[in-house]
Symmetry: D2
Subunit: 314 residues, 4 copies
């Protein structure tokens, strides 16, 4: 019996940071990799079944959450995050052979890349102009193929794929910049609990009354569930109405997380469960004895016992 | 087939407010009523099986919680409250025939009765002295039998039982004073949910850190569970260490109460469940849609569904 | 120039625990000590000006808050606590010379003393009966003067004052029992801050809505103010309506306490400030850097600066 | 005496939404308007003194907060918001005379405009491609001047300025889309309180401990201060570290806001006060009696009085 290899859509071409993220996925090396031009295509592939998975950027340590990704996850039903991957973001200024730094006037760059190298560019190429490219790899190709474009911002490894040379390496404003990616699929049960997991949700508040957000966050705090991300995104129907994109430490099969999610479901008129999945960084959250699975199981057993008439303390 | 009639211990004799409370118990008229001299005897009867039930005073609307009762419930294992009864507290000044108000110098009174009539006594008998009696009925008997005692504070109905006459009626400082009684038994499953129930517990804080009490009360607030009583009682081992006697609106079989009790059990090093039982006043608490049984059941179903891979919204 | 010595009313006679407490007051040895028969007289002396101060019991580590004191402080306007004193509570069984333990059938005891020795009495004098006395010292006198009374519960030191002998020493159920006393005066500015102070208040909730108590306690928690006592007392007009007697760590001149008191005043329809005064036990609370006076002063300065247009960070 | 007219930098050219926003500023019609190419230039003009004010977009009701603006406000010291303006965002598809809808293959659009018309474009021009323009007005010029570009997304009013015609009007996906702009200056005292004001701040959490965000939000909740915006932005030094951009209802001279800001200053290691200014929509927040200026003033007076020895209730 043969099985079809899994198909992965990603923002290509080869060499992009998304491609780097995909290389981190266990078993993906045996799959079919489908290079697409943007987020919409990648998710559409998953929704229509053309792909089994899409690798998409969700947050950059410098630029923040990727709004388009957050909004897509809010709007496209039934997407599930099954993995998280973190990729360091290092940029080089590259150019075709023979071009020197002093000759660079127009450069090609993906907008996010450009934003992350701004300080270096202002200091070293104060009079440059730039044109946007659809990806970091495409920027290098633009530099190679378009005569008016002298150079490009691209990942270091680009020289293996595009015939350009490095004029200046590691020119990002923040040397420790990273991008977080998530692997999404359509529906399906949650991945197994590993002990080092994250749970992602999107939730709306019941109304505009003061203190509502506080009430929502208390759902997590009263169960000892830590929140590693909270982003607000406009619902879009009126100024001042937001939904919240939230990452929690832990897995839906952790008792404390399950309890918090049920509390949230009772509180919020709309909760989207995006998935529980292993964390990129392998960090294991420390859980107070009060919020372990054992504490929850003991409490349930105690409740049943006292309701049946047994003494409060065994 | 014959069944043994249930036995009820109460602070007697006939005519006390406790006796009045016992008259409110459904079916008690067919039981055997055992008059005892104090709280300790009543509870001991239940613990040893001499009685099936004890009727005990737990709170007075003017004097506050009955400390001895609260401490006994904390210390005697396995007592369960199965009913609550409220009795209006009206006092009369009574005396043997022939004694006039102007002759009253020494009066007999149960200490609680005396405390509740103090203002009237100060205004109308400014120069009286008093001796303590073990019950309100005994006070009337003291007035009748002890030559030095001219009058007594007693419930209005005393004239049916003791040969005294009313010198002044309804002389309590607070005309709407009431005493709350509870009927306790040894262990046994909780009474059925009626929709108008109370749940009583005693809990300790995990340690002395600031904000601990707040954390404990949040267990109730985050589940929409109202607290109708909060009393602190010294644990007794050192100044400043307290346990808390708490009454909650609702029944252990209400989902929100069950959830709060489990939260409390996880938080507190020691929780004593004293019972869920019908309220004396038949008041039905209004429950926000967010905390109904349906909301809890829906949340549980939703959690299971999304963990299995179903969409977040059905 | 001569000044009138200060007058102190206390529950006498000499030798009571209240008298012991009064001996702890700096400078009281030069004052005039007025022995009174009960709490009401002591407070009345202060209100009418017959005394400058009254020493009154406010809490026992075993029996809990003294309700009568708490209620008096709530009802008598303008009383101020200016000091706190803690007295170990040790009881002896005493009797006139020639009486042996085996002869003791009837004993005299102040009700609180009786409650605190109950276990010893049940174990060692299982068949005793008792009569209440108005103070521990009076109990010893009763034993001496009343032929029917064989013995008394009294403080150890009683043998210096009353001609009785110790039959059994240190018979309290709890060997570390203590009573907390406070010294009250009529009005007047608060005592100076010592760094080891307490602040006492009585407050009511604005209404019966769930979560109101939580809101009140947050006034303290959000300013890092620790609460060492919380007692509920019935307001008295209806079952289920309470005021709260609260002790806070710190002095009204501590910025964090002042801020919390103002927050409480805005929240509560009725706040009674009972005073800030040095603690009995000299314990100095540790204050997080966030809640020191400096933090408050810095915040105020910062607010003024930024409102004037200065940069947020100096 | 003549005064120099105020200078206003804005994302030009004439006809942009920013230009529309500037038209809403009282008195700006007499000022000098300086069209700049991007946010950085506008703010730089203010910082260097080339302009008195910059009008900058801060939030779109569909796209969310403008990250670049939020980050600039966090990084450039001493900027102050002095006004807020809201502009409806309506897009038309425009083209040079003679171009029909069926001929449009390549269109020019500012990225935000493109994002807001995506659904209409997918439905009506499924096979189009697009190139980014630096502003909505520039997009129309591109359509006019660049032969390869057939059409542009632009504000309705563009036909008054650029020689293009409307092919389709009001094609934004969200008909009620709006953009919020703020007018910023360098330093200076806050504008007068109008009763309908907003206060903007940026704050960091003291550390990563769970519940810290909750604690920060409680600073507002416990003073009855409503939060109309909460956005998290990466601090940038490491994944998972955020600062929060917050809008509050009210003015720094409102007692409750001042108190909350001081609480925040004590809590947070870094608070940037961005200003208090009149709201765009003139909405007056309803303030509970507990949080009015009067309540704060009364509480302060009460505190001083009781500390001086006056009775708690006047």
């Amino acid at each position: 019996m043969t099985t079809t290899p899994a198909r992965y859509s990603y923002l290509g071409p080869e060499g992009t940071f998304t491609w780097e993220a995909l290389r981190l996925v266990d078993g993906a090396e045996n799959g079919e990799w489908i290079s697409v031009a943007n987020l919409g295509e990648a998710l559409d592939d998953v929704v229509t079944g053309r792909s089994d998975y899409a690798m998409i950027a969700i947050e950059n340590s410098v630029e923040g959450g990727v709004s388009a990704t957050q909004d897509a996850l809010a709007h496209i039903p039934d997407l599930r995050i099954v993995g998280e991957y973190q990729v360091p973001v290092r940029f080089a200024l590259v150019a075709p052979a023979g071009v020197g730094l002093e000759q660079v006037e127009l450069l090609a760059a993906h907008p996010v890349a450009y934003a992350q190298c701004r300080r270096w560019l202002e200091a070293n190429l104060p009079r440059h102009t730039h044109i946007p490219s659809s990806s970091n790899v495409q920027a290098a190709r633009d530099a190679l193929e378009d005569d008016g474009v002298h150079a490009a911002l691209a990942p270091r490894g680009i020289t293996e794929r595009v015939n350009v040379e490095v004029l200046a390496d590691d020119i990002g404003d923040n040397p420790s910049a990273e991008t977080r990616f998530v692997l999404v699929q359509k529906g399906g049960p949650v991945p197994k609990r590993t002990g080092s997991d994250k749970t992602s949700i999107i939730a709306e508040l019941p109304d505009d009354r003061p203190g509502r957000l506080l009430e929502m966050l208390e759902q997590f705090a009263t169960r000892g569930v830590n929140m590693s991300l909270l982003e607000s995104r406009p619902i879009g129907d009126a100024m001042g109405r937001y939904r919240f994109v939230i990452d929690l430490d832990g897995h839906i099969h952790d008792e404390r997380v399950a309890d918090a999610l049920m509390g949230l479901r009772r509180f919020s008129p709309k909760v989207i469960f995006l998935g529980s999945y292993p964390r990129a960084n392998g960090h294991t959250p420390s859980v107070s004895p009060r919020y372990t699975d054992e504490a929850f199981i003991d409490a349930r057993r105690w409740l049943d016992a006292v309701a049946e008439g047994e003494p409060s303390e065994s």
